[in-house]
């Protein structure tokens, strides 16, 4: 009963403290919210960059040109080898020389095709492989290039086209951006922590007298600390909600500007609902961490 009473007291006291120090509470909430917005934006970019690479990898297609004498049975055998040995394959389609010719004809401009004898259009039996790559890494790209190049040595294979250089270049570009963004995120997280720590120190300094009085009337350090932590957690949650609301509003404003000014229909959801949990968790961590910083030195019972 006493434990419940004390717990209720701590919670009541934490809520009352928010009202007793509106300026401190406001500054604390804003500090954490601004930090979360900065880190949140970079985090989103980082996440989107990862998604872009994965989408690129997901859309990869490999074209294996076969020698004209290769028959359907040999082609099917090769398709099975590709499917089983490479593994991450969405679909394998065999095209006979005639089907390849028809496809090429469709790709050529109509005026050119008009006077062209179909026999003039090059055609070769082909295997089209659509790849399914869940996660692209440097090692995966190298392995992919090596394995697909080795296909050219297989009997019956004329040529393999899969744009390896393009993949490697795009990959290294995104990989570089990913590293840069990760570094910038780290710097921002550290800056945010410093920002929160400094503000918290100032806030705790402002409450020094209050803490001293509580200790003089016989409060234990825990009695002072717990409502302070709860207060920090509540501030952190409020900051998380505020940061999410700001980013959501900003995104909405940006997208509506793009749509009206550039007539661009952007089907992008920069801020999925699940992100609110990340913002709240981030706010909670920063709020709790911040409230514990600087408090200890005022909780010493003896000098």
């Amino acid at each position: 009963m006493k434990t419940l009473r004390v717990a209720l007291y701590f919670f009541r006291e934490a809520v009352a403290n928010l009202g007793r120090h509106p300026l401190h509470s406001g500054v604390g909430i804003l500090t954490v919210a601004v930090s979360l917005i900065m880190v949140g934006f970079l985090g989103l970019f980082l996440w989107k960059a990862n998604g872009l690479v994965d989408r690129m990898a997901g859309g990869l297609t490999l074209t294996v040109y076969l020698a004209p004498e290769v028959d359907r049975a040999a082609a099917d055998e090769l398709a099975t080898v590709i499917s089983t040995e490479w593994g991450e394959v969405e679909s394998v389609t065999f095209m006979s020389a005639e089907e390849d010719r028809q496809r090429n004809l469709r790709l050529l401009p109509a005026e050119l095709v008009e006077d062209l004898s179909p026999a003039m259009v090059p055609a070769q039996p082909t295997i089209e492989v659509e790849l399914k790559v869940e996660r692209l890494t440097e090692q995966r790209v190298d392995a992919m290039i090596e394995w697909f190049s080795s296909l050219e040595n297989v009997r019956g294979v004329d040529e393999v086209l899969f744009g390896a250089e393009k993949i490697a270049a795009a990959f290294s570009l995104v990989q570089g951006s990913r590293k840069l963004l990760a570094f910038m995120s780290l710097v921002l997280v550290l800056a945010a922590l410093f920002f929160v720590m400094t503000t918290t120190r100032l806030i705790v300094e402002g409450r020094r007298k209050e803490i001293e009085v509580l200790l003089l009337v016989g409060a234990t350090p825990g009695f002072v600390r717990i409502p302070h932590y709860i207060e920090g957690a509540l501030q952190g949650l409020a900051s998380g909600a505020l940061a999410y609301a700001c980013v959501w509003l900003l995104q909405r404003h940006m997208l509506s500007s793009l749509r009206s000014d550039v007539f661009l229909q952007v089907p992008v959801d920069l801020l999925p609902v699940g992100m609110v949990a990340w913002f709240l968790a981030g706010g909670l961590v920063l709020g709790l961490g911040g409230s514990s910083i600087g408090l200890s030195r005022y909780l010493r019972l003896t000098r």
Binding site: K2, R5, V6, Y9, E13, R20, H21, K209, E210, E212, V213, L214, L215, L216, V217, G218, A219, T220, F223, L301, T302, R303
Partner: protein, 231 residues
């Protein structure tokens, strides 16, 4: 009746070689009233800080409410302080809390139910004549009113010992007498009272034992207010 406070050859030295208290010995019986006086820097405030275990002595032994402070674990200090009501010259009230809340903190740390806290704080505010100030914050109160709130905070849990550091230092003579009379009321109800002051006029109005300190050394022990009404 036993001893409430015992100082045995207590010395307190600060870094830099400053000796605030030098081999000080005195006792304070339960229910006794003691003045500690002396000029600024005599060591009065140091004695009070040692009593509250805010600092430890460099040498000697201190016993407060039957607890030897030398062997007291840090975690036990809050429980020692719950036996001591403290009053300061600068009141040390929490500006962000109302007068009622300032007094209530003493009972809140004891984990008492809200209803009991309301009753006891209400009673002590009535006795001290500050009921109408319950919702006022300290910056809205006069010096005398703030000191009454501070006294209420010190006595609301009926501590066996009250220590006051220049409790009338910021008050005019009439208010000083009023505040001292409130402390005397507590003393008459059996509370041990230790007041550090350099106001000789005020001391002579009350009959009490008086220790005079100079540069941390006990130079004289007298009885004040031999001619007073309290005599």
């Amino acid at each position: 009746m036993g001893s409430m406070v015992v100082f045995s050859n207590v010395t307190k030295r600060y870094p830099g070689g400053i000796t605030a208290i030098d081999s000080l010995s005195f006792g304070l019986e339960e229910g006794e009233f003691l003045f500690i006086t002396g000029p600024s820097g005599a060591g009065k405030s140091t004695v009070l800080r040692l009593l509250l275990a805010e600092e430890g002595p460099t040498a000697g032994q201190i016993i407060v409410a039957r607890r030897n402070l030398g062997s007291l674990r840090e975690s036990a200090i809050p429980y020692l302080r719950r036996n001591i009501g403290v009053i300061f010259q600068d009141f040390r009230l929490i500006d962000s809390r109302t007068a009622f809340e300032n007094i209530a903190v003493t009972l809140e740390v004891l984990g008492l139910p809200s209803s009991e806290i309301r009753n006891r704080v209400g009673q002590v505010m009535e006795v001290l004549g500050i009921s109408r100030l319950a919702e006022h914050r300290p910056p809205m109160l006069s010096g005398g009113e703030q000191q009454r709130v501070a006294i209420a905070r010190a006595v609301v849990n009926d501590p066996p010992l009250i220590i006051a550091d220049e409790p009338t230092g910021n008050l005019d003579p009439a208010l000083s007498v009023e505040v001292m009379n409130l402390l005397m009321d507590c003393h008459r109800r059996g509370t041990t009272l230790l007041v550090a002051t350099h106001d000789l006029g005020l001391m002579n109005r009350y009959r009490a034992r008086c220790l005079s300190l100079e540069r941390g050394v006990l130079v004289e022990e007298t009885i004040t207010g031999e001619q007073s009404e309290d005599a």
